[in-house]
């Protein structure tokens, strides 16, 4: 079924009218309510009255993660603090994390787009869903929860981890839907076999997997291993969390809920639009959000877009799976990691500026591992092993506190980390995504 058939199957011309009306209102709304946007609009020489329709969107300035960092925590809010009902936080590049705030209506919107996403994947209102995304500040768990509430699904709010318990709950309650990161469902496949479960007897028939990039090869592994349909969900906590776009059972791209999240694909270097079918950076404008509306937000995710109609009947544009990033962010176990965060931690230790490198790997059916290699210079070096172990431990604890991801630390000799054109390569990603 299609959750909002009226909107999701609307002819594109009508959709465009809605987008135009919403964009006009939005430009006015942020200009009046948020001094940061007023300054940005003024600097770009654009006034809300210049926005007469969706085609004028290119006149508006981009918003980036730097705007979020510089205006942390409340600078980008367009509503008084009292109207903010919920706050989530994710990694920033350096210093401040990225914050997203929701009004009551924003939470309703989140629930609605997630309900659209679950329906798009094939869920029906009388289904049971096992939510194995992390609950808490991470948007995955609660986003899936609100969507399930909106749809009327029976919810098993598991959060991530405790695999034997996940499998027991699955066996006992027979949920047809599983929502978690794709690497976790593969990890559970291996655990299930070890614990004596027959994965093909699992109740899960539809998976809604996201929060990290994954490949068609992984999809095949999940689908063959569990005997289920594996669909991709996309979102980012900067925008709302999961629920920006979702694959239907045809698995031919992710339907963007473009009446509320307006997508553009641009050349990341020039900022100019690229034609449909060509890869570029996904830029999103939240057309109806209240607490922190984002105007032309640079997601840094590289995708291509098509406006061809889909066999499922939905008319909204579809994007490809993410094929890369325009920055050096990596996603580890669903958590965004920026190498600059590691740099900050290392700078804080003994005031040194050591060379470092992240080695990200994933053994078959295992969760991602991160090894942080740190070059030991004279300032960090100590002739006592005890002190060196303390250093290793200190680096590990501090990095884990900042990233919320477990890491191992390896001390290496100077110049072991490969430099290209004088600049060290910060991330070696060995995962076959």
């Amino acid at each position: 079924m299609i959750w909002r058939e009226d909107i999701e199957t609307m002819p594109l011309e009508n959709l465009k009218n809605i987008q135009s009306e919403r964009l006009k209102k939005l430009a006015q709304y942020v200009y009046e309510r948020c001094p940061v946007y007023k300054r940005k609009f003024d600097a770009a020489g654009v006034h809300p009255r210049d926005i007469r329709g969706i085609e004028d969107i290119a006149k508006l300035p981009f918003t980036t993660k730097i705007d979020m960092r510089d205006n942390y925590p409340f600078g980008l809010f367009s509503v008084p603090r009292g109207e903010v009902q919920e706050i989530h936080i994710s990694s920033g590049t350096t210093g401040n994390p990225t914050l997203v705030g929701y009004t009551r209506d924003d939470l309703k919107l989140w629930g609605e787009v997630m309900a659209r996403a679950f329906c798009c994947a094939g869920a029906k209102p009388d289904d049971t869903i096992q939510i194995a995304y992390g609950y808490g500040l991470f948007t995955g768990g609660l986003g899936a929860h609100y969507g399930s509430l909106e749809m009327g699904l029976t919810i098993l709010p598991m959060s991530a981890g405790q695999t034997p318990r996940q499998l027991k709950v699955m066996t006992d309650f027979q949920p047809r839907i599983i929502a978690c990161t794709p690497s976790y469902v593969l990890y559970m496949l291996e655990e299930a076999k070890e614990l004596g479960y027959d994965p093909h007897k699992a109740s899960w028939k539809i998976g809604v997997f996201g929060a990290e990039p994954w490949s068609e090869a992984m999809r095949k592994e999940i689908e063959d291993g569990w005997g289920m349909l594996a669909t991709d969900i996309y979102g980012l906590s900067d925008i709302i969390g999961p629920g920006v776009s979702q694959e239907c059972h045809h698995k031919k791209g992710l339907h963007v809920f473009s009446d509320v999240f307006y997508p553009e694909i641009i050349d990341p270097d020039t900022g100019q639009p690229v034609p449909d079918g060509q890869k570029g950076e996904l830029v999103i404008t939240t057309l109806t959000k209240q607490a922190i509306p984002l105007i032309r937000y640079r997601t840094r995710d590289i995708v291509s877009m098509t406006r061809q109609p889909c066999a499922c009947g939905r008319t909204s544009p579809r994007t490809s799976k993410i094929s890369g990033r325009t920055d050096d962010m990596i996603v580890v176990r669903g958590i965004n990691v920026f190498p600059s965060q590691i740099e900050e931690v290392l700078l804080g230790i003994e005031g040194t500026h050591p060379q470092y490198q992240l080695i990200v790997d994933r053994q078959a059916h295992q969760l991602d591992t991160v090894e942080v290699q740190v070059e030991v210079d004279e300032k960090l070096f100590h002739d006592e092993i005890k002190q060196m172990h303390q250093l290793e431990h200190e680096i590990k604890k501090k990095i884990e506190a900042v990233l919320s991801v477990g890491v191992s630390v390896k001390l290496v000799e100077p110049k072991t980390i490969e430099r290209s054109i004088g600049k060290a390569k910060r991330v070696i990603d060995k995962r076959k995504l």
Partner: protein, 143 residues
Amino acid sequence: MKITQISVFLENRKGRLFEVCSLLGQNSINIRALTIAETETFGVLRIVVDKPEAATEVFKKHQITANLTSVVAVEVDDRPGGLAAVLKTLSDHDLNVEYMYGFVEKATERAMLVFRFEDPDRATKVLSAAGVRVVTESDIRGL
């Protein structure tokens, strides 16, 4: 009468110790005493050499992480109980040993023991007062 020990950070990989030691050999630097403390992934090579300044230069030039530590070396007769006698003195004076290593000097038939103390100056005084022969920097250079 402290002497200088050079500690070198080494990754646990094949041939690395050889590379470091051959650098010293090529520069006519003689190793007087040596020990390695190792962990799963790295090791610390500790050496006493006849030309510590030259060795430091060589390491710096080859971007090998090394630092200098003051240690105390003593000579004891190479016979049963030689080390124990020295350790008793240290224990009696509440001197804590961070680590130590020893080797035998062939020419003199005596054993040399290298100690890392938190307070090498006090250790030197205590040991000298107890009649233990403390090795000097010039001893090392001329050994």
